[in-house]
Amino acid sequence: MASPFLSNTTISFSSSLSSSSLPRLVPSISSSPIRFKSTPRRILTVRSKIREIFMPALSSTMTEGKIVSWIKSEGDVLSKGESVVVVESDKADMDVETFYDGILAAIVVGEGETAPVGAAIGILAETEDEVAEAKAKAASKTGAATPSAPPATPSPAPAPPKPTPAPAAAPVAEGPRKTVATPYAKKLAKQHKVDIESVVGTGPFGRITPEDIEAAAGISPSKTNVGPAVVAEAKPAAPLKATAAAAAPSSLPPPVPGSTVVPFTTMQAAVSKNMVESLSVPTFRVGYPVTTDALDALYEKVKPKGVTMTALLAKATAMALVQHPVVNASINIAVAVAINGGLITPVLQDADKLDLYLLSQKWKELVEKARSKQLQPQEYSTGTFTLSNLGMFGVDRFDAILPPGQGAIMAVGASKPTVVADADGFFSVKNKMLVNVTADHRIIYGADLAAFLRTFSKIVENPESLTL
């Protein structure tokens, strides 16, 4: 035993007077040498000095222990602090020592057998005279409950809701068929104290699967460890977790025969996760019609220089944002891009500080990187305001979901010729584009957004400043 890190730690077991109705003393968490004392109880009138040796809880997760070996045998005289028995827990083997002097009158749980934490594993008599009595007691113990049996604690607390017995659904009765349960199902049954005989197996050949046990124990199925894994766990944000957890089981539809399940790609899983998270943000929406004739004219002019409408809009947004810092403190404009099998929002950092042409060039690079999946995290995760344009599809207006962590998202529809009446009552046809901003009402209020949109509209209607 050269190293202090090894498993043979020494632990004293607790024991109490058997004749009194003392609460069992079970250590909750134990590390290296600890002694458990039943101190104040000493005062009680002691009718018999027969003590039970209990299975100690050697770790916080231990529910039962196996007797590796009895260091002492029946009839041995024990003195306080001596190692009596070696117990194997789920983690390690430990020597357990006695806290009392006495005689090991009887061994209730033999070597190699298992007993639940707190069960009597041996009987300690204080004097020779009591040995016989102790033995009788031990005999009754062993008779009452075979210690090797699984921890069938006498009080089967709130019994787990059994699956509504459906005998008709049970596999064709072939007389007394033996129960077949998979290794993991057996483990789970033990863990959740489910009587495996009472479970109807639904697996192949009527075998009991881990899912059957989980259903019987009334717990939601744990995620399958392999295969189509559902969305990653949400971050510790408390309310989110509940939503996500609630959403997870329901998102698994009953399998359709002949169908195949296509697992999410990492990107799809991430999108899914972010979308669910967005439900926790209180959002509101404000729409605004913008006349784009001037912008369209400008676009025609700058198009040959490689400027796209997205870049123009991004620049206009950036310039409007500068005037409305409440909507966005730093001008990092994310622009949603649909790519094969997903959606990503590359970020134009400090969009207000770049001129239109540089911005266009930068945008081009980002889109190329996005398509080849080579974006660096800071190139898609640092956005503070998102621009989403579906105008090229002819969509006239839509409503965007605010990505978590951002203040607002602007949904841009197509610019369409519209009949408008001006203040003087003259009708004319102008190109109108509907933009719709979704914002987080925790930080941005309606008036802020409306003011921002008015500024944006003015910039678009007088776009000369964009090229400056």
């Binding site: 035993m1 050269a2 190293s3 890190f5 090894l6 498993s7 789920d90 983690k91 390690a92 083997d93 033996k178 077949v180 998979t182 290794p183 993991y184 057996k186 483990k187 697996g203 192949p204 050949f205 075998r207 881990p210 399958t224 460890n225 392999v226 295969g227 189509p228 894994a229 559902v230 969305v231 990653a232 766990e233 697992p263 999410f264 990492t266 899983a269 991430a270 996760k273």
Partner: protein, 572 residues
């Protein structure tokens, strides 16, 4: 190749033996030893051959064949000086390969006979492809361990695998190593003779492919290195689909939901690691009372706690799988268990698949050993400590050696190679006896298990017999910086040693990269380095090797360190 084999056995061999016996009964009776390699024997052999080929000309219609025979009779007449080769190795597995490379280095003209594929079991159906599967299972298990990932601050979603992709990885690795092996031998000028090799007589090997004429080559020395095949106990029906051996499992054609693994040794344990990582549930069936027999009991116990108990594995110990029926007619695989002691039926299991990992049987059938009066023991070729083959009368067969799984001394690829090198040393004039105690063994589970030398019970037994005290030192991976950095602190290294003189008796490691760590100990044992000296060796910090460093330092040896090997200070 099997057809050639039975053919040659059924017709040629008994006939020649018969002819030999009937023509020279006096020799056979009076001086059986000399007969095997003296000139007379050669004549007798050739003569019998002629008789045989004359008498059965009708059946042996191949002209090439008879030509060869006359050619070989021709050479038989010449003195044994003119061998075709200095050394012929039958079997191009890892053992044969190791021997061939060393033989070339020693200047021997070498040929290697292979009837199947170069690389043998290890490369094609053993250690190599299984390492590919284990590399996958290790990563997958790590990625799926939410707890472990979280502790490292990593977020991984939806770790999954593509079965065919995994299988291809294993297969590609095997082909790559196989071509490496082939090329290394070709580059060195080792002749690779394709065909099934048979001992045709003293210093003579016959080889040939099915449907082709046989060739006979002579060599000064011959090494048998034919290896082994999976052992399947009787009563078990292997169909290659639902009841399989490691040969099939390595192809990973199917990942069953529930697989029973018969045998909990290295092979079974490694496959349990693979299958559970890929999502299967596993049931071990072990004939002995303990899982993982053969490992040091303490290591076995710890390994069980880490590799078995928390995983989706259960087990039946002390039982034989006496009957296994593959899945068919809508029924699952049915396994009948019989109590190992009482021999009474105990239980019946219904599973989706069964992997038979009950060990390996030597592949020596049809090797023509009866031509030289060698009787195998349970299939193993009997050898002495120098790998020299022993015949039925307990005498050494000159110029014939057997290495690797075929002799059963230590059924490990690297042991075979070491034995081959030892043989080459002997035939090139340097006596060499291989110490098997210094050969390490490893099991590539996650974490790995490795060992060298004696287990604790063996060491104690030896200590009692030879009258020395066995001491034990242990260190934990929990105290190792690198292991903790990897968040893999689970593990133990154990040293068994003599406290009086510091001799290392055995080292057992369970923990991260244990298989790589063992070599410091195995080299120390091989070179006879004592603990009091090796404890002064310096290890880079922080590395896993410090686990062993600490292990040696924690040993309490009475003997003083020997004087430093570096006597003069060296400037750096």
């Amino acid at each position: 190749m099997h057809s050639t084999l039975s053919f040659s056995q059924a017709t040629t061999v008994p006939r020649s033996n018969y002819a030999f016996d009937s023509h020279s009964p006096a020799f056979a009776l009076s001086k059986p030893i000399n007969l095997r390699f003296c000139g007379l024997r050669r004549e007798a052999f050739g003569f019998s051959y002629l008789t045989q080929s004359c008498s059965s000309r009708v059946r042996f219609s191949s002209r090439g064949h008879s030509k060869k025979i006359s050619a070989s009779t021709g050479t038989n007449g010449t003195p044994p000086k003119s061998f075709d080769y200095d050394l012929i190795i039958i079997g191009a597995g890892v053992g044969g390969h190791g021997a061939a490379l060393h033989a070339v280095e020693k200047g021997l003209k070498t040929a290697i006979v292979e009837g199947d594929v170069v690389g043998g079991t290890c490369v094609n159906r053993g250690c190599v492809p299984s390492k590919a599967l284990l590399a996958v299972s290790g990563r997958l298990r790590e990625l799926q361990s939410e707890h472990h990932m979280k502790a490292l601050g990593l977020q991984v979603s939806a770790a999954g695998y593509d079965r065919q992709g995994v299988a291809d990885h294993a297969n590609n690795l095997a082909s790559k190593i196989r071509s490496n092996l082939t090329n290394s031998m070709k580059a060195l000028g080792v002749d690779i003779l394709t065909g099934f090799g048979t001992i045709w007589g003293p210093q003579k090997v016959k080889y040939g492919k099915v449907g082709f004429p046989d060739n006979i080559v002579t060599a000064k020395d011959i090494i048998i290195a034919t290896g082994s095949i999976p052992f399947v106990p009787k009563g078990i029906e292997v169909d290659g689909k639902t009841v399989i051996t490691s040969d099939h499992a390595l192809k990973l054609e199917y990942v069953p939901d529930w697989i029973a693994i018969v045998g909990s040794g290295y092979i079974g344990l490694e496959f349990s690691d693979v299958y559970t990582a890929l999502g299967s549930e596993v049931t071990f069936i072990e004939a002995l009372d303990q899982l993982m027999p053969g490992f040091d009991p303490e290591i076995g116990k710890l390994a069980q706690r880490v590799l078995i108990n928390p995983r989706k594995i259960d087990y039946h110990t002390g039982v034989f799988a006496t009957k296994i029926t593959p899945a068919r007619d809508g029924k699952p695989v049915i396994i009948e268990l019989t109590d190992a002691k009482t021999k009474e039926p105990k239980d019946t299991l219904e599973v989706d698949a069964a992997l038979i990992a009950t060990g390996r049987a030597p592949f020596t059938n049809g090797l023509g050993l009866d031509n030289i009066n060698v009787v195998t023991q349970r299939g193993f070729v009997p050898v002495d400590e120098r790998m020299r083959v022993i015949d039925a009368n307990g005498n050494l067969v000159p110029h014939l050696y057997c290495i690797g799984d075929a002799n059963g001394k230590m059924m490990l690829a690297h042991a075979a190679s070491a034995q081959g090198i030892s043989v080459v040393e002997q035939v090139t004039g340097r006596d060499h006896v291989l110490s098997h105690l210094s050969i390490p063994a490893a099991c590539f589970t996650h974490p790995e298990i490795s060992m060298v030398g004696l287990t604790e019970p063996q060491a104690r037994e030896k200590g009692e017999k030879e009258g020395f005290e066995v001491s034990v030192a242990k260190t934990s991976f929990k105290a190792n910086t690198k292991a903790l950095a990897e968040n893999e602190g689970e593990g133990l290294a154990k040293l068994l040693y003599r406290s009086d003189n510091g001799e290392i008796l055995g080292v057992h490691i369970f923990g991260l990269h244990a298989a790589d760590l063992i070599h410091e100990a195995s080299n120390a044992i091989a070179l006879g380095t004592r603990i009091q000296d090796i404890k002064f060796a310096v290890h880079a910090h922080p590395t896993l090797s410090e686990v062993l460093d600490e292990l040696f330092k924690s040993a309490k040896v009475k003997a003083p360190a020997s004087s430093s090997p570096v006597s003069e200070p060296v400037a750096v």
